[in-house]
């Protein structure tokens, strides 16, 4: 398992280096979004309108943070379960989105989109939101403030820790990891 330090926005060459199981530390900007924000973004795409963010080369982090305490950039900010965004992700990858960060497995359509559009899916540790908040330096709401925790934020991260779950070659850490440690019935 290799370790990579990458900066967003990323190019195809960066994604080509990543394999399922690799540890990755991300520096740069991430966009946050979860259920309601994705629904709104996809409605804009269907209507042929511009998105409130340029997603080319970018990553979306599936998170709805707790409110920030005074003087802090953000509250607790760990990943939410990703499958709920499965129906939206392929469209965004086709528009240049290079990565999503969450937790839990993706469906076949998402995995195919990662191969087709050269992208990757990463997991951060679910339930470690206080720890993860330490790698977030700033945060600003850029769209849908009315959604509260579900608003789209642009967050500046430094060495944000995650693991490649699905790479652009069809590798899947969840499947490989489970196979390795499974004990068959007697």
């Amino acid at each position: 398992m290799a370790e990579h330090r990458i900066e967003t926005p990323v190019s195809d060459e960066t994604i080509e280096k990543l394999r399922a199981g690799d540890r990755v530390f991300i520096t740069g900007y991430l966009y946050t979004g979860r259920d309601s924000a994705h629904k709104k973004l996809i409605e804009l795409v269907k209507e042929g309108k511009d998105l409130p963010l340029d997603i080319k080369g970018q990553f979306i982090y599936y998170v709805g943070p707790t409110p920030a305490r005074p003087g802090k950039p953000i509250g607790s900010a760990g990943p939410t379960t990703s499958y709920r965004m499965d129906s939206f992700a392929p469209t965004l990858h086709s528009m240049g989105l290079k990565g999503t960060i969450g937790k839990g497995s993706r469906n076949e359509e998402v995995k195919e989109a990662l191969k087709k559009y050269k992208a990757a899916y990463f997991a951060a540790v679910g339930g470690a939101g206080a720890l993860i908040s330490k790698s977030i330096e700033s945060s600003e709401v850029i769209a849908y403030p009315e959604l509260g925790p579900e608003a789209i934020r642009r967050v500046k991260v430094k060495d944000f820790p995650c693991i490649v779950i699905n790479d652009m070659y069809g590798g899947d850490l969840y499947e490989e990891g489970k196979k390795k440690y499974q004990k068959k019935k007697d």
Partner: protein, 285 residues
């Protein structure tokens, strides 16, 4: 007759929901540390390390252990001989619990994770309503147990109505299959609450009550179900899902089973999944 002040209930709940979201209790931490020792996979060990680092930061900085600070779920045991004192502008016990929840989630910078309608989905903005289960008991006891229940693990839960012929194996297979299907989604290592018997709605309530058993990982008083808990924990941990689903020996920290009488035609079973961030706290007045 014991007199309980509603204002005191509200204020205690305001503090309780915050403390539960900032600090894992010792019995939960003990099980996590014990299971960390047993984990063999490098990725799994790293997950345990991050979980324990996270516990320290959340406690020291009063930050939510998880950004999903949950639905506020309460189990209230109210003694029939208790008199409620309607002070602090509060007219009922449910109002006191609701107001305590609202104030605690606001003061503690906890996330507001409730929408007012399942389809139209507008956030209520204050994490209410609270989800309150009432139990009227003899005497003058007054006990409230709070669990901050996140959505990710709750979504992987299930209820099934079995024919009695399915027997013990039927229920055990159902529990293991439910955990297997959930895979990496509910933030393993998980805690598995099983409700066996009752009826359709009661089985689900039993499964949630099973999660509340303290200390975490203790076994049923009934040796039959204690054995079932041991068998289920072993089978679940043989699935290989591991911490965060990345492969490993520890998929579950504990399995608790609660059973109840049921109809001669039925054998309901429910599985309530809880994440490793097991935020449960009680108080008595």
């Amino acid at each position: 007759m014991k007199v309980i002040s509603l204002a005191k209930v509200r204020d205690t709940i305001k503090d309780l929901v915050q403390k539960a979201n900032f600090e894992l209790q010792d019995d939960v931490l003990d099980v996590i540390k014990d299971m960390e020792e047993k984990e063999e996979s490098p990725a799994g060990k790293e997950v345990f390390k991050q979980i324990l680092d996270n516990v320290k930061i959340a406690r020291d900085e009063k930050l939510g252990l998880c950004q999903d600070t949950g639905l506020a779920v309460f189990f209230v045991e109210l003694g029939e001989d208790v008199e409620l004192q309607k002070d602090g502008g509060l007219g009922s016990l449910s109002e006191a619990i609701t107001e305590g929840t609202r104030a605690g989630y606001e003061e503690g910078y906890l996330r507001k994770s409730v929408v007012e309608d399942p389809i139209r989905r507008k956030n209520t903005g204050d994490n209410t309503p609270a989800y309150i289960h009432w139990e009227l008991v003899p005497g003058d006891a007054f006990k409230v147990t709070f669990i901050a229940k996140g959505g990710g693990a709750e979504n992987m839960s299930a209820v099934q109505m079995f024919a009695p012929a399915a027997g013990m194996e039927g229920i055990e297979d159902f529990v293991v299959e439910t955990v297997d299907k959930g895979g990496s989604n509910p933030c393993p290592p998980i805690i598995v609450g099983v409700g066996a018997g009752g009826n359709f709605e009661y089985s689900a309530l039993l499964a949630k009550k099973a999660l509340l058993r303290r200390p975490l990982g203790s076994h049923s008083y009934d040796p039959f179900y204690a054995d079932m808990e041991r068998r289920l924990l072993e089978r679940i941990n043989n699935l290989g899902i591991g911490p965060q689903g990345m492969g490993g020996r520890i998929t579950a920290l504990a399995v608790h089973v609660e059973a109840f009488p049921c109809h001669i035609a039925s054998m309901p079973a429910a599985v309530n999944i809880q994440c490793h961030s097991h935020r449960v706290l009680s108080f008595e007045l």
